[in-house]
């Protein structure tokens, strides 16, 4: 069993890394773990009192759970997909395109559905009163965007590459740079909130939130790919990230599928 220290005595990175390694070893030994994050993952200290101790209860979705809320053009302005034009000046940082497709477990596009993102600025600072990281705020960057996917499930955001930032999980803890994503499918049961990471981040091995997904292949699905085809000359670099929601329980008609 992993020992959880009091919040007043912060663990070191080495201690947290040992816990991450132990959880990973337990997974490889086959006694727990799956393609989703463990909810009970003590290296992420805030999870200790906030995970259910009883197993999730298996049930079949009822009708309402086989449908999802519907969003449309009145919900989202096309300008909201560009996080770099929300203020009068240019935000500081590396301008990027983040684009990809949202599909369900059978590869069907998730069309005309809401995608929301939020992120830190280039210096690793969130516009949030709880973020006390003394990196500068950028008056030209808020860091929140949204869009409606196209008919083929594709999406594309213009933004700034977020910086890594420190947090107080343990002493000298740093989160790998990431963009938070919120997604809906065609079914209520497909609801997904997750984080997209950037390739080759040296902080991956040290981060208990990323490592809470004990399966290495599953973890890797959160990492975008640099895609030179998404760059704009003299303007921005590009990352591709495709998102797969869980399977749909709906009975699909021939012309919908």
């Amino acid at each position: 069993m992993l020992i959880v220290t009091q919040a007043s005595e912060l663990s070191t990175q080495a201690e947290v890394s040992d816990e991450i390694a132990a959880a990973s070893k337990a997974y490889e030994a086959g006694d727990r773990g799956d393609a989703q994050p463990l909810l009970d993952y003590p290296p992420y200290r805030s999870s200790v009192l906030r995970h259910p101790t009883k197993d999730l209860h298996h049930t079949d979705p009822e009708t309402i759970e086989r449908w999802a809320p519907c969003f449309g053009p009145q919900d989202v302005s096309p300008l909201e997909a560009d996080l770099t034009i929300q203020h009068s000046g240019e935000p500081i940082g590396e301008r990027i395109t983040v684009a990809g497709r949202v599909v369900d477990g059978d590869g069907r596009p998730v069309a005309h559905q809401l995608v929301e993102i939020w992120q830190a600025n280039a210096g690793g600072r969130y516009i949030h009163k709880r973020d006390q990281h003394p990196a500068p705020l950028d008056p030209n960057f808020t860091g929140a965007g949204r869009l409606i996917t196209a008919a083929d499930g594709s999406y594309s955001f213009q933004t700034i590459k977020p910086g890594p930032y420190p947090w107080k999980n343990h002493r000298n803890a740093w989160r790998p740079a990431h963009i938070h994503f919120s997604l809906f499918g065609t079914d209520f049961t497909q609801r997904l909130v997750t984080q997209m990471y950037f390739p080759g981040d040296p902080l991956f091995a040290l981060d208990p939130i990323y490592q809470s997904i004990t399966d290495a292949d599953a973890r890797a699905r959160l990492v975008a790919t640099y895609d030179h085809d998404l760059t704009t000359p003299e303007w921005s670099t590009g990352y591709r990230w495709d998102i797969v929601l869980t399977g749909s329980h709906r009975t699909w008609l021939e012309d919908e599928a």
Partner: protein, 188 residues
């Protein structure tokens, strides 16, 4: 069965407040609507302390039990019922929606489908808030599959303004959280 492996979830984190909640998110109908009720409650952790950085979403049928496929949840016009809402918890861990009672098909027990997000919660949780004192509760497939002492965690209680549904993430009276077939969790 799905053929592609799903993208895993991650915690909503501490800084979702400027990304997800929005004005009017919790008002599925205006408070002056003749059938308006309040659905509210407190999110609690394993120590019984309120969770001030949680986000609750509800998804429901209309009072006649119809599934609504009307857009407009993010910019409500005051007339269109979309069936979906979002509310962050306050400093005391409380959330509150203004909505109408959901209906259900003949013989089915009506409920609000509930999604719970929080800092410290590594993946979202699904639950149901059933409308209390409905005759179909006794035959509901989910409720009857639960041990008797846990059923009550999914049934809202009535108060003067509507319904109360507290969410206990852990410990005494832990809310029943749900998993559906084919959801990417490999554990049986």
């Amino acid at each position: 069965m799905s053929t592609l492996m799903p993208t895993p979830g991650q915690t909503v984190g501490p800084f979702f407040h400027y990304g997800l909640p929005y004005e009017g998110g919790a008002e599925l109908v205006p408070a002056g609507h003749p059938d308006a009720i309040r659905l509210h409650g407190t999110v609690l952790d394993g120590a019984g302390d309120p969770v001030p950085d949680s986000l609750i979403e509800i998804w429901q049928a209309d009072p006649e039990g119809r599934i609504v496929q009307a857009p407009g949840s993010l910019h409500r016009d005051g007339w269109t019922f979309t069936g979906w809402g979002r509310a962050a918890t306050d400093a005391a861990g409380r959330y509150s929606f203004t909505t109408v009672l959901p209906g259900a098909a003949e013989g089915d027990a009506p409920f609000f489908a509930v999604t719970v997000f929080a800092r410290g919660l590594l993946d979202r949780l699904f639950s149901r808030a059933y409308v209390p004192e409905h005759p179909a509760l006794h035959d509901d497939a989910l409720l009857t599959s639960l041990p008797e002492d846990r059923r009550g965690t999914l049934i809202a209680s009535s108060d003067a303004s509507g319904l109360v549904f507290d969410i206990r993430l852990q410990g005494e009276g832990e809310t029943v959280f749900l998993t559906f077939p084919d959801n990417g969790r490999l554990q049986a």
